[in-house]
Each structure stands twice: as C-alpha cells, then as structure tokens.
C-alpha cells in the first residue's frame, strides 16, 4: 500500500519510491538520524527486517540480490551504523551485486561540525561504490533514489549509497513536489553494448582452428541471465569447460564436459586443461588472481577470447586476442548461431581427454571414526533437494563446498567470492530466504565466520526464517591454519579456536532447533533429519581439526603445479 500522497515527508517519499521500484523488503537497523525512516515503515507495504548488526543488513541485502538479481536494500543510521555497512558494500562492489544502501545522516545544518554520530560516509564510500549520493534537498530525493536503482541494477551491477540527512527525511513535500511525484515517469531504455559482429566472426574462426579449446564461465552468466545460452553454447561444441567460483551453477548439473571449478583450489582437470588449451574462452569472468595465478604463467599456449559487459576488464590482467564487448547472453546467443551456421565441428575427443586429466578430488588424512568436513559436505550435496540455495562463509569450508557443489543455477550458490568477507554466509542465507520463500536454503559456515554473525540467530528466531545452518566446526581458523602448516613451518599463531562454545546450546537459547554431529557413522541419518525438519535448524558438525583443502596451488605458482596431499 502506498500511503496518501498529501503531507508526505522525506521518509515516506523514500518508502513510496522503494515501493514504486519494486522493493518488498529492506534489511536494516535503526538509530538517531534514520529514525524518521523507521517511523515511516509503520503501515507501509515495504517491509523492514530488523537484523542485529548493520553488517548483517548489508550481507542479507546482498544475499537477497544474489538470489534474485533484484536490487537488495539495506538501511542504517549515520556514523557507526553507516560504517558497519561498509564490508557488505565492498562485497557487492567486488562481486557485481546490485545493492542500494540508504544511510541516515546528521541534519544538513550540522554536517561538517563533527556532530554526534556524524561520519563522512559519502567520502568513505566513494572508492567502494558505483556511485554515492548525498541528498541535500527534498526535491532531489525521489530522482536520486531512481538513479541509484538504475545504477545499482545496471549492465554491470554494483552498490550505490544514498546518504540522507535527517532533516530531509523529516521535511514535508510541497504541493508542487507532490504534483511532480504524480507525473508519469519517462522510461529510459538501458543501453547495453552488443558484441561487434566482426569480433564474433573472428571468435568463430579461432574456435574452428582450435584443437584444445576450453571455456571458463564466470559471474557474468548470473548477471546477464546467460545460463541457458551458455549451456547451449557448450553443448553445441561438446566443449570442455570450467567455472570460476561465481560461475558455478552455469554449467548444467551432470554435464560430463564440465571440468569443475578452476583456480587455486580448483579441480585438477580444470587447471590442467586450461594450461594445455590453445584457445581459452573467458565468458563473463575477469581473470582474477585466484583463477590465473601469475598472469604470465596462465594458459601460456592459448589465445584468449574474452567476453564481458565491462570493457575495462579487457587486457586488465590477461591480454585479449579477441574482445567481445557486450551482454553475455546476447554474445553467446550470437556466437552459437554463428558457430552453427559455420558448421564448426565438436570437440568430443578433447573433452574426454580433458576430463581424464583429473576427475576426482584428493582426500586428506581420512581417519577412522573421526568426522570429515568433506564427507559431511559430500553427503549434504547428495541429499539436499536439487533446487536448494547454498551460501557459504569464507575459508576452508567455502573451498570444499565450491569444489563439490553442483547448483542448478548460479543464483543457487552464494558466496563472498572476491572480497572473501567472513561473516557473510549466515546473513546472506537469511536474505536468500526472504528472496525466495519456499526454496530450501542452507548456510554452510565455519566456526570462525559464524561467530562473527551468530547474533543473527535472533533475526532467524523473530521472523522464523527457515534457514538450515551447517556449521563446519574444526576448532580452527582453518584456511589460515592450513597456510601456517604448509608455508609457515607449522607455527600456529592466532588460529586455534579449541575453546569454541557449545553452538547447539547457543541456538537452543534462541529457541532454534539444533543437533550435534560428531560420529561419521551417523552422518546420513542426522542429515536426513536435518533436511526434513521444518523451519530453522543448526547442525553443529564437530569435524577433525587439521583437514586441508586439496588440491592447492601455492601462491605465485602456475595453476598446473598443484599440491595434492598433506606433508605429514
């Protein structure tokens, strides 16, 4: 419901605009400067979800956006409220997630006086957003919000921050302003670049001449809804293909030409095939350092065909022989049409050879009677419903999950990929639950990251968010511990969490169902009960402490030089 237009204040205008822009839910936390906005939530159709820390508001909004493609919205007050959003905003920037952060600000007549809870969030956010707006007049408020959404949800999505002083939120709209608000809004068509036909033709010719081509799909498949066109493209050629962590879900589940995730903890087949490739097709990905290693050692025999919506990505890290600048879905559709017309033959023999380069993951220190995190995750992915959404936090469990998960769509695997922000997984899962009610959502978290965000158990309790929390507890900051073992002479500094609390007891204190899993013999039975339980639940998996992630490419090494087992 949009409230009566007469006598709207700035806060009401914000919510009416959010409603007009299709926003249904906002994640936030109140405070002094943003109070008028929280007052306006009374009786308004836009729903406010109260989290327990502003960082969780940003992550939950990010999870909502990642799970749907719609713009996620978070709100916080001025000063500390705004600064607590920053990590989630950077996360949205680095993973191209559409996010609008609305922050309260001290009154305009106090700005610049170092007032209580004043912080120059606009100055801080300039480097970590697509755009920052400071609203200085009520008449600017609605147009700025519309611009913010257009930018955030643009061809390459990202975060936008709108800083609104409290006097603007309280100011009453003039009759002229109300009239302007009722006026029809011009529709501005989004300009999306289209790949040059000559570049498409050159790419077709390059693929025709290739003997060992490999495709790498990235987050662009999610952003541009290119999943169907990507699968059709790969299927037409029988092309071996790999995915970045953000591209997982683009390959069809069960596709035998899919080699798995590539990169530092990628599948052996994926890394070796790329190393041997004579053509690498980088599709909606940006040759991140975790994927390439040292660029001069990446795919040294290959020519690079790079498709991306953002021209600044071309030649940023790896020089592109052919650049396809455009929306990935359109580019792949055109490419597939042209390949079909040209009768380019399939690569079945090469795909089979590539698959044979390493089609299983190494096991680590399996010990009888002790619970292995990787066994738990293997069983979870086997047993969870096929349309499930999985989020992860950051660390070993993230890499184990990324190696194993076969999501049905990139919007079903949500992870802080580029920023690697611990504390992301749980609130992002809450956001995903609000975004896609009825879809099973599993938050896979480690004991370190969960302790950065577990206050959100209160949010889960209040709204009965049906999230399933899979807590992989190895009583260590495991990824750092692994690096200390391998590269710092086993000097374990500040990574031991052996004094972890009883997480199930904590969940119970919030009246959230919880169970402990520590006997591997019970894994299947406990997981079945966990998955079938209605409503939220925490599964505390007490895993052995020194399981490592394999394979692993040491920092600075080429991607085909993988370590595959522990030294001891």
């Amino acid at each position: 419901m949009i409230c009566e237009r007469a006598e709207r204040n700035g806060a009401r205008i914000v919510l009416d605009e959010l409603h007009e822009l299709g926003v249904e839910v906002v994640f936030g936390y109140p405070g002094g400067a943003i109070m008028p906005l929280h007052d306006a939530f009374f009786g308004h159709s836009v729903r406010h979800v109260l989290v327990r820390h502003e960082a969780a508001a940003a992550f939950a909004a990010g999870g909502y956006a990642r799970a749907t493609g719609r713009v996620g919205v978070c709100v916080a007050t001025s000063g500390p409220g705004a600064t607590n959003l920053i990590t989630g905003i950077v996360d949205a920037m680095t993973d191209s997630v559409p996010l609008v952060a609305i922050t309260g600000q001290v009154r305009t007549d106090l700005m610049g006086t170092d007032a209580f809870q004043e912080a120059d969030i606009a100055g801080m956010a300039t480097a970590i957003t697509r755009r920052v707006f400071v609203v200085r007049e009520l008449a600017q408020l609605a147009p700025i919000l519309r611009s913010a959404f257009a930018i955030a949800g643009g061809a390459r999505p990202g975060p936008v921050l709108v800083d609104v002083p409290s006097d603007i939120l309280k100011a009453i709209e003039t009759p002229e302003g109300a009239q302007r608000a009722r006026a029809p809004r011009p529709h501005r068509a989004r300009r999306v670049p289209k790949a040059d036909p000559s570049a498409i033709a050159a790419a077709v010719e390059r693929i025709r001449q290739a003997k060992n081509p490999v495709a790498i799909v990235g987050g662009g498949a999610r952003t541009s809804n290119a999943v169907a066109s990507y699968r059709e493209f790969c299927a037409l050629l029988g092309l071996p293909h790999a995915a970045t962590i953000n591209g997982l879900g683009a390959p069809a589940p069960g596709d035998e030409t899919f080699l798995g995730m590539l990169g530092m903890h990628g599948w052996k087949a994926a890394n070796l095939a790329v190393a041997r490739a004579d053509v690498v097709l980088g599709l909606g990905m940006r040759f991140d350092d975790r994927v390439t290693g040292p660029p001069e050692k990446f795919a040294t025999q290959a020519s690079i065909v790079h498709a991306d919506i953002d021209a600044s990505e071309f030649n940023k890290i790896v020089p592109a022989d052919i650049a396809l600048h455009g929306d990935l879905d359109e580019t792949l559709t055109e490419l597939t049409r042209a390949l079909r017309a040209a009768g380019v033959p399939r690569f079945d023999a090469w795909a089979s050879e590539a698959r044979g380069l390493g089609s299983s993951l190494p096991r680590d220190r399996a010990r009888a009677g002790r619970l292995s995190a990787t066994d738990v995750l293997d069983a979870l992915f086997e047993m969870a419903p096929p349309d499930s959404v999985f989020t992860t936090d950051v660390g070993q469990h993230q890499m184990w999950a990324a190696q194993r998960v076969r999501p049905s769509h990139p919007r079903n695997f949500l992870t802080s990929a580029s920023l690697g922000a611990m504390g992301f997984g749980f609130p992002a899962a809450i956001g995903a639950c609000f975004a896609r009610p009825g879809t099973p959502v599993f938050a896979i978290v480690g004991d370190g990251g969960f302790q950065m965000s577990m206050a959100e158990l209160a949010t889960v309790r209040r709204y009965e968010v049906p999230v399933k929390i899979v807590l992989i507890d190895n009583r260590n900051l495991g990824m750092v511990r692994q690096w200390q073992e391998l590269f710092y002479d086993a000097r374990y500094s500040a990574t031991n969490l052996s004094d972890n609390p009883e997480f199930a007891t904590i969940a119970s204190a919030y009246e959230i169902a919880a169970e402990v899993l520590d006997d591997p013999a019970h894994t299947a039975r406990v997981l079945r009960r966990f998955i079938d339980t209605r409503g939220p639940m925490l599964l505390h998996c007490r895993c052995y402490p020194d399981e490592n992630v394999w394979p692993m490419v040491p920092a600075g090494a080429a991607m085909d030089t993988m370590m595959e087992e522990a030294r001891s």
């Binding site: 610049g112 606009a122 100055g123 200085r136």
Partner: protein, 76 residues
Amino acid sequence: MTSTFAFHDERNIARIINLGLRLGCSCTRFFAQRNDSRYEVQVDFDGPGDALRRLSAQLKKLTHDDKETFGERPVR
C-alpha cells in the same frame, strides 16, 4: 572561497572535492601541481557562507593531519 594548500599525500586532492560536495559547495576552479615531494593545490569553492565556513574548517583538518603525518608546515 579560494584556498591554497600543500599536501604530501595526494589522496587529499580527491578528498577536497568530496568534502566540498558533501557540504553543499561546488568547486569552480581547481589547480594542483607536484613540487618535489609536495602537491600544491589551489581551489575555489562556491556555496552558502555557512557551508564554506564548515568546509574551510574541514580542509584545515586535512592540512593539519598532513602536517602531523609528514612533519612540515602547510603553505598557508
């Protein structure tokens, strides 16, 4: 309002513009030049008197912090 500064940290140049915009002032002229290890900056801002006064105070903080960090007195 015309201000002249000297900074060692060139990031302050971007910060000046941000501050001006945040406080409702507009930059009408900007000049920056590197001279040895310092950046000499001249900038003109237009805006309401109160906003310019607050901007001036914030810019003084910037120059003060630069001086504290690099141990040299600003030009003006």
